[in-house]
Every structure is written in C-alpha cells, then in structure tokens.
C-alpha cells in the first residue's frame, strides 16, 4: 500500500480529532478574526444606539435549549447593549421549554452590568396562548402578566412605570427558533401597536425571514451564530460568538483542507482503470 493509499484510508478518528481540536482551541483561545458587519445586523445596533436613556426595550426569547448555541450569544450581546444604554429592559418568552434558560440569561447579564431586578429590568416569564399573549399585552400588559417570573406583582415594579401596554414599548426584538417568533410579533404586535420590531434567528430559518426584512416589516435581522458574532464586534465585547466564528473558520478550513488533501492523494493513485469507472450516478 502506497502512502497515498494509506492516507485515503486514514482512520476517521483522526479526522474527528482534528475537528474536535479545531473547535475547542479557538473557543479557549479566541483569535478574533475580522468579521464583516452585515447591514441587517448594523441596523439593529444603530436603532438601539439611537434610543434615549430610559426607553422601554422588550426582548422576547422565543427559543428552546436546542437552539441555544446560536441564539443564546445573541441574547447576551443584545442585553449587554441594552443595559449599557440604560434602557428599561423587559424579558419574556413565548416558548415554554425555554423559560428557565431565558430567565437565567437575563438575570445573569443584568448582574454583570450591575442592574437591579424590578428597577432596571424585569423578566416576565411565559404565559400560555402564543400569539394571543401578544394581543393581550397590546391591550393591557398587567392582564397578560399579572406577576413576573419571580411572582412579584408587575403593577408595583419601577421598571414598568408608565408602561400600560405594548404601545408604550419602543423597541421589540424577538429571538426566534421557529414560526412562533418574529412573524408572530409582526402580525399580532407591530402591525397594530406601532412599536419598532427587530429580529434574531437561527441560521436555518434566516433565509425565510429575509423577505420580511426587505419589505421593512422588521428593521434588522441577526442571523445565526454569525449574526451574534457581528453584534459582539459592534458592542466591542467579543464573547462566545466571536470565538465560535473562529472555530467555524477553523473547522471549515480543516474540512476544505481535508478535501483538497484527499483529492491530491486520489489523483496520485488514480489508474486508467479507475478513470473509466463511473461515479455514483
């Protein structure tokens, strides 16, 4: 067996090791490769930048743990930005399985930024009904969420002062992993209660949301881990997503390199007999 043949039949566990290391090392020691900022992510950032202090910002974390890798870093970056701008932050979710995780991320980032629950931010939790929750919130926020996630009556909270319904919210962002999310917020919320709406989503559903962006139904879109990385760059707080993008670049190039290598070896050993052999189809 020649060297090329041996390389073509390389134990696939070596490939696994390469991929594992290409992911792990950049996560532990991020390089921070330059990331091109796309206009759709920038417009979310610019809008939050333009908001005056004390504006009401609602973040709806509409995803479950399965989509955590992509949407959690987006939530972290957005929350950091909102708290830095001293916005009044309302967190909530339309996805029951994501409630615990959503509550965790909001309180954690708030603690890092030195914000006080009830005064600077509130996490409302989950309420049954999907789209009708949005309608209820549009009519009366205190009827939709009489208490927050910690069972505090919402009426008494400082952060919700002068907020009666969704009409008093300036900016809403839905981080969505599926169909209950950005579209729902647009159809049942923005259309009627006239707040500005932005979105964040997993890479898989992003192509389907671009029409909404083009028609101006949402003012910006953060797509997948890539979008989260761009946002981290914008707020100057390189975190998991940027490190993740390094890992992405590393693994992609590892795979491309592997493909090039295997083709080189393949061409080296290719005999005329093989040339005549048909491909799979």
């Amino acid at each position: 067996m020649t060297f090329a043949e041996r390389m073509l039949r390389i134990d696939r566990r070596i490939i696994f090791l390469v991929i594992g290391l290409c992911t792990l090392i950049p996560l532990l020691y991020p390089v921070g490769l330059a990331i091109k900022i796309s206009p759709e992510v920038r417009s979310v950032y610019d809008y939050i930048e333009s908001l005056p202090e004390g504006s009401v910002f609602l973040l709806s974390l509409d995803f479950d743990p399965a989509s955590k890798p992509e949407l959690y870093p987006q939530a972290v970056a957005l929350l950091h930005h909102a708290f830095k701008k001293n916005l009044r932050v309302i967190g909530m979710t339309l996805w029951l399985p994501g409630t615990g995780m959503a509550s965790e991320v909001v309180t954690r980032v708030a603690r890092v930024e030195g914000k006080v629950n009830g005064k600077d931010f509130v996490f409302l939790g989950w309420s049954p009904g999907g789209s009708s929750v949005i309608i209820n919130m549009g009519q009366d926020l205190y009827k939709a969420f009489p208490t927050d996630y910690n069972n505090q009556p919402t009426k008494d909270l400082d952060v919700l002062k002068d907020v009666q319904s969704l009409r008093d919210v300036t900016y809403v962002i839905s981080l969505a992993a599926g169909s209950t999310g950005i579209e729902t917020w647009y159809v049942f919320g923005k259309d009627k209660y006239k707040f500005e709406l932005g979105g964040g989503c997993t890479g898989v559903i992003a192509p389907g949301l671009y029409p909404l962006l083009r028609s101006g139904q949402i003012n910006g879109l953060i797509g997948g881990l890539r979008g989260a990385a761009e946002y981290e760059v914008l707020i100057g707080k390189k975190g998991r997503a940027v490190a993740g993008m390094d890992a992405q670049s590393a693994t992609h190039f590892a795979i491309i390199l592997l493909v090039i290598l295997c083709n080189t070896f393949y061409l080296l050993i290719r005999t005329p007999r093989d040339k005549a052999a048909p491909g799979q189809h």
């Binding site: 696939r12 259309d191 799979q280 189809h281």
Partner: protein, 445 residues
C-alpha cells in the same frame, strides 16, 4: 358560483331612495386620523355640493359577502374614476346595519376599516382567479376580513360606505348593506380539483394500458443493487437492516417505504437471511409486521418469519438514532436500507453504517437530506425514484402503469412550464393580459 353574492349597487339606488353624494369642505387639518368621530361631526355640518372639483363619489359600488371564504368577510368593489391618483384616497367605513329594514343606515357608529391611495387595491391585484372575479379587473376591490381587532359575525347584516377624499374634500357612496356568510366551495381551487381528477384518470388509464402491454422502464442503479446486497448478507451470514424513516403512516413516503419493505422481505425470506427493522412509529411497526409476515408467506417460508424482526425503539429522534447506531456497531449488518423520510439523523445513521462496511441503499423524498445520502451511501434513490422503486422491484402492471402515469404528468408539467414562460414573455413584449391561461396553473386560496 357557490353563493350568489347579495349585491346592492349604488347605481340602482340605496335604501334611503338615493345615493348620498356629499362633498364636504373642511378647514381643520389635524383631524385626518380621527375619521369616525369626524364623520359623526360632519353629519351636523352644512353640506354643499362642489361642482368645479373633479372629485366624484365612487361609482357602481357593490358590497357583498366575500365569495369562497370561511365567513367573516365582506368584499367591496367599485369602478375606477378619472381622479384616481396618489393624492386622492379612498376611505372604507363599516358599521352595523340598523335593526329594522325601514330605518335608513346612518354614519353614526361606523368605523374606518380601510384608507389607501386611490391608485391601489384593484380587482386584478386581489389573489383570485379570473373565473371568480366579481367585477372587471380595472375596478377597485377592498376586502374586509376578520382579524386586527375586526370581528365580522356571520349572518349579521352590516353596512359599508366608500368615500373618495382629496385633501379636505370628500365624496361618499353608500352605505350599502351586506351579510357575511361562510361558503361551501372554494371556486378558486377548482384548478386543483381538475388536476386531481385528470391525473387520477391518467394513472388509472395507464394502469389499464399496462395490463395489456409491456411498459419499458429505465435502469435505476440503486435497485439493481438490492439483490446484490441481500446476496452478500446471506454469504456473510450477517443480518440486513431496514429503516422506514421518521414519518408516520399518513405520509406517502412511509407507505412507499413499507411497500418496498414487502418486496425486500420476500427476497430476504427466500435466502433465509436475518432481517432487522427498528421503528420510531408504533403504527408503522404494526403495519410492517403484517407486510413482512405476508412476504414470508408468499415466499413459502412462514416458518422462518420472526415477529420480533420489526421492533419499536422510541419516538424520540436522537435516542432512536443512538440505538440504531448501536445496532449497526454490534450486529454489523451487511446491508443497510434507508427508505422513507428523514431529518438530521440521516448522516448519523449512514456514516456509522459506512464505518461498519455495510452496503448502503437509501431512498428518500426528504430533499434536504439527499446530499448526505448521496455522499455516504452506495446507492441513493432520489425523490420520485423512491416511488418508482416498488414498481421496479415487482414489475407488476399496476405499479408500472402508475409510473407511466407519473411520466405523463411530468410531460404535462413540462408543457405547462414551456407554454407559461412563452406567454408570460409575450405579455411583457406585447402588453397582453395572459392571466386567463396563467391563472390555471396558479395556487390560489
């Protein structure tokens, strides 16, 4: 048409004996958003007819129940006017009809449900087919639908008015009454039904034809390999693994996978090789047990049939995958079949199978998973080939005829694509309206 629309045209006179053509002048500018309150106010203002302005009330106004819907909708159509343009607006108002028929409808309590520039909202823009349009395509059309805080009750009479507004000026037609009702047939979808009927006849016809004469079938490499794979498993004394996918019994691809299982099982029975069929859906499992049993019977080997060859693991996607991967690693089947519909688990299954050196044959209609099957399996039945497989394996006239029917269907679609493109291009080049043909192949709701 399913329900004759209840039409009351403004031209034919409305309830109070004449159309209300009002021209109003107002001098306050900040009121433009508060139409409903405004119009109540205006009722008490002196009305003057404005002659020199070209603004005219909407002509030939019709209000009727929206046809082909599930109720809760009213449609309003009216003729285009010479003044239509970006600076003239149409305002549609809706209110409850008066309790008795003799009372003339008033504008009190009416709310604005539509407000748009007068060069928009045409019949041709509405998503309906030409055969269901209730007015010429140049007419204006506005649909009042349920939702957005609006609730129309079926069977309850309403009144609707339309005003043309230019700056502070306004001309109104109506109000006209109409009753929203649900309908029993959606005529927009008659083309869909026609396709079902025609395609059904084509398939049944070609099945009849196939019973009379032989039908040619091109080679499908993956299916030639089925025998080879079973033969190899027998030689090695190793089992055969057959998966029916993630779908339940109501999905055609699962049914196709189950039918192919029958053909494969028959050959497996003849060779007396072991067959393993792990399942994710209990109903599919039960059906496949029946099918396998029947195949062993037909092969004359009912004694080697094992009820346990079809077994259930779990409904959960990834624990099922983990378990099947475990089976592949421990029992080392010589051939793996992946038929039916798949999701992300496809690559987890086929890569593990490839590492054990099994011959792998896949067939799926899940287009998003095809790349992974094509790259990791020895043979892949792409999309429709899955449905062709049972015909190929059985060579029964019924199956062959169906395939022939599908080919005729594809030929018709190719013709429709070609003809449609030519017509669409011609419509741009020569400014023709070709919707009378193109609507036939549109998916209208």
């Amino acid at each position: 048409m399913s329900a004759e629309p209840k039409v009351l045209s403004a031209e034919r006179g409305s309830m109070n004996g004449g159309t209300c053509h009002w021209s109003l002048k107002f001098h306050c500018s900040g009121l433009s958003t508060q139409y409903s309150a405004l119009f109540v106010l205006l009722l008490f203002m002196p009305l003057t007819v404005h002659a020199e302005t070209p603004l005219a009330p909407p002509q030939q106004l019709q209000v009727f129940d929206t046809p082909n819907d599930s109720g809760g909708g009213l449609t309003i159509v009216w003729a285009p006017a010479p003044h239509d343009g970006p600076d003239v607006r149409y305002v549609v108002m809706l209110g409850a009809a008066p309790a008795t028929a003799d009372t003339p409808p008033t504008l009190t309590g009416m709310t604005v449900v539509g407000d748009f520039p007068s060069n928009s909202h045409y019949v041709r823009g509405a998503k309906t087919a030409w055969w269901t349009q209730s007015a010429p395509t140049t007419f204006h059309q506005f649909d009042i639908k349920n939702g957005k805080g609006q609730r129309l009750k079926d069977g309850k009479p309403y009144v609707v008015s339309v005003s043309a507004m230019k700056g502070a000026e306004s001309m109104m037609a109506g109000p006209l009454p109409a009753v929203p009702e649900p309908n029993w047939f959606n005529w927009n979808q008659i083309n869909n039904l026609a396709i079902v009927v025609i395609f059904g006849l084509v398939v049944l016809g070609s099945i009849q034809a196939a019973k009379r004469r032989e039908i040619f079938l091109r080679r499908i490499p993956g299916l030639d390999a089925v025998d080879e794979a079973i033969g190899r498993a027998t030689e090695l004394g190793k089992p055969i693994l057959y998966l029916t996918g993630a779908g339940d019994m109501s999905e055609p691809s699962t049914v196709a996978a189950a039918v192919i299982l029958g053909r494969v099982a028959k050959r497996v029975a003849a060779y007396e090789t072991d067959l393993l069929v792990p399942h994710r859906d209990p109903i599919v499992m039960a059906v496949c047990q029946e099918i396998t049993k029947q195949s062993y019977l037909e092969a004359g080997k009912p004694d080697v049939f094992k009820e346990d060859s079809n077994f259930f693991i779990t409904t959960d996607q990834f624990s099922y995958t983990a378990a099947v991967d475990g089976i592949m690693l421990r029992k080392k089947p010589a051939a793996n079949f992946f038929m039916g519909s798949y999701f992300a688990e496809s690559l987890l299954l086929t890569e593990t199978g490839a590492s054990t050196g099994a011959i792998q044959i896949a067939g799926t209609d899940s287009d998003h998973q095809l790349p992974f099957f094509v790259t990791t399996c020895d043979y892949t039945l792409i999309g429709e080939e899955l449905y062709a497989a049972s015909a190929y394996l059985s060579r029964e006239p019924v199956q062959l005829g169906t395939l022939r029917g599908q080919d005729i269907g594809k030929a018709c679609i190719l013709c429709a694509l070609g003809l449609g493109t030519i017509l669409a291009t011609a419509s741009v080049l020569f400014h023709l309206d070709v919707s009378f043909v193109l609507d036939l192949v549109k998916d209208l709701k």
